[in-house]
Symmetry: C2
DNA sequence: TGCCTAACCGTCCGTTCCGTACTATACGCT
DNA sequence: AGCGTATAGTACGGAACGGACGGTTAGGCA
C-alpha cells in the first residue's frame, strides 16, 4: 500500500504548522491561522495565505490528512498523520536550530541617515501595543487547560518586547 | 531623452542596497555584500545572491547606474543615480516604518515540546560569537573616517545581542 | 617560470514566501 | 427579506531564498 506522496523539503514554516496541529489536533486553515496568532506568530510570522497553501503542500507529501467538513462551508480539516508526527518530534529533538533572525526597517532608515529620535516614538508605541496584545492572549490562554505550550511562547514574547523597550532608552 | 526604465516596487531590501551605495559610492556586487556584512546585515539579512540580482533590477529601473570595470574581471560597478538618491532620501524621511520582525526556530521547537535548557547553551554561544563579530567590525570601522552610519548600526547590534543574553537568563 | 591551491567572485535556477486584491459565506439585526 | 459586518477562502505575480556549481585571481612553492 504505497502512497504516491511527493517528497518535499520541510521548512521552518512547515514545522510551525505541524507544531500547531500537534498541539491542537484537527484544524481548518482558519483555525490554524488563529492558533498561530495566539501562540507563535511573534517568533515566526506567516501571512494568512500560508495557512491555506502550506497544509495542501504538507498533505500532498503525506504529513497531514485532510477530510471534508460535513455541514456549512465543507471546509478541509487537517490533522497530523503518523509521518507528520514523526517528522515533528524528530525535528524538535534535534538540538541544532538556525540562528534567530531580525528584520528592522527602522535601523535601516537610521543607517540611511534618518533621525532616530523621530522614529522611536512610534516604535515604543508599537511594542507597548504588542505587549497588550500578547498579554490579552495570555489571560485568554491561561483560562483553559492544555495551552501550556502557547503560554510559554507568549511569556517569551512578553519578555522580548519588554527587553526591546528597555533597549530603546 | 526619455529613458525606457521599467517601474518596479522598491522593497526594504531595495532600500538596503540603495543605502549602502549611498554611504560608500561606487561599488561592485561583491563590495555591496561585504559592506552589508559589516553594517546592516544584523538587522536586514540578505543572501549573497541578492547583492547580484537586486542591483540589476534597480539599474533596470533607473535607480542605479552601471559601468564596466577596466581591468581584471571587468565587473559591473554600480552607483546611485539622481532618481536613486531621491528615492532613498524620500524613503528615509518617511516617519512610518514597518514593524520589526523576528524569526526564531528555537522558540518554535520549544513550542513543539523541546527542552529549553538543552537549546539555550548553543544559543548563548551564538550571541556571544555575534557580539565578537560585531565588535570586530566596530573597531575596524572606527579606525577610518566616514563610517559613522555603519558604526551606529553596529552599536545597535551590540546592544541587541547583549539584551538577548540578558533575556536568556 | 610554471604549477597548484585556496580564496575570491559570480551565476543559475527551482522552490518557497509574501502581499495585495478580491470573492464568498455565515450570521445577527431591523 | 434585505442589509451590514465579521468570518473564511482564493488567485496570482513578483520577491526572496539558498544550494550548487563554475570561473578567476593571487600567492606560495617547486
Amino acid at each position: 500500500m504505497r502512497s504516491k506522496s511527493k517528497t518535499i523539503k520541510l521548512t521552518g514554516t512547515s514545522y510551525a504548522l505541524l507544531a500547531v496541529l500537534g498541539e491542537f489536533g484537527e484544524m481548518t486553515s482558519y483555525d490554524i491561522k488563529q492558533a498561530m496568532e495566539s501562540s507563535i506568530q511573534n517568533f515566526w510570522p506567516v501571512p494568512h495565505t500560508t495557512a491555506y497553501e502550506e497544509p495542501a503542500r504538507l498533505a500532498a507529501a503525506g504529513y497531514l490528512s485532510a477530510r471534508q467538513e460535513e455541514g456549512g462551508r465543507r471546509r478541509r480539516v487537517y490533522a497530523l498523520t503518523k509521518a507528520g508526527r514523526e517528522a515533528l518530534t524528530e525535528w524538535a529533538a534535534e538540538p541544532e536550530t538556525s540562528p534567530p533572525q531580525l528584520r528592522d526597517e527602522m535601523i535601516l532608515k537610521v543607517f540611511a541617515g534618518a533621525d532616530p529620535e523621530a522614529l522611536q516614538e512610534s516604535r515604543v508605541a508599537w511594542h507597548k501595543a504588542k505587549l497588550e496584545e500578547l498579554r490579552g492572549y495570555l489571560t485568554m490562554v491561561r483560562s483553559v487547560e492544555g495551552f501550556e505550550p502557547s503560554e510559554r511562547t507568549l511569556v517569551a514574547g512578553v519578555a522580548y518586547h519588554e527587553k526591546m523597550l528597555e533597549m530603546i532608552d
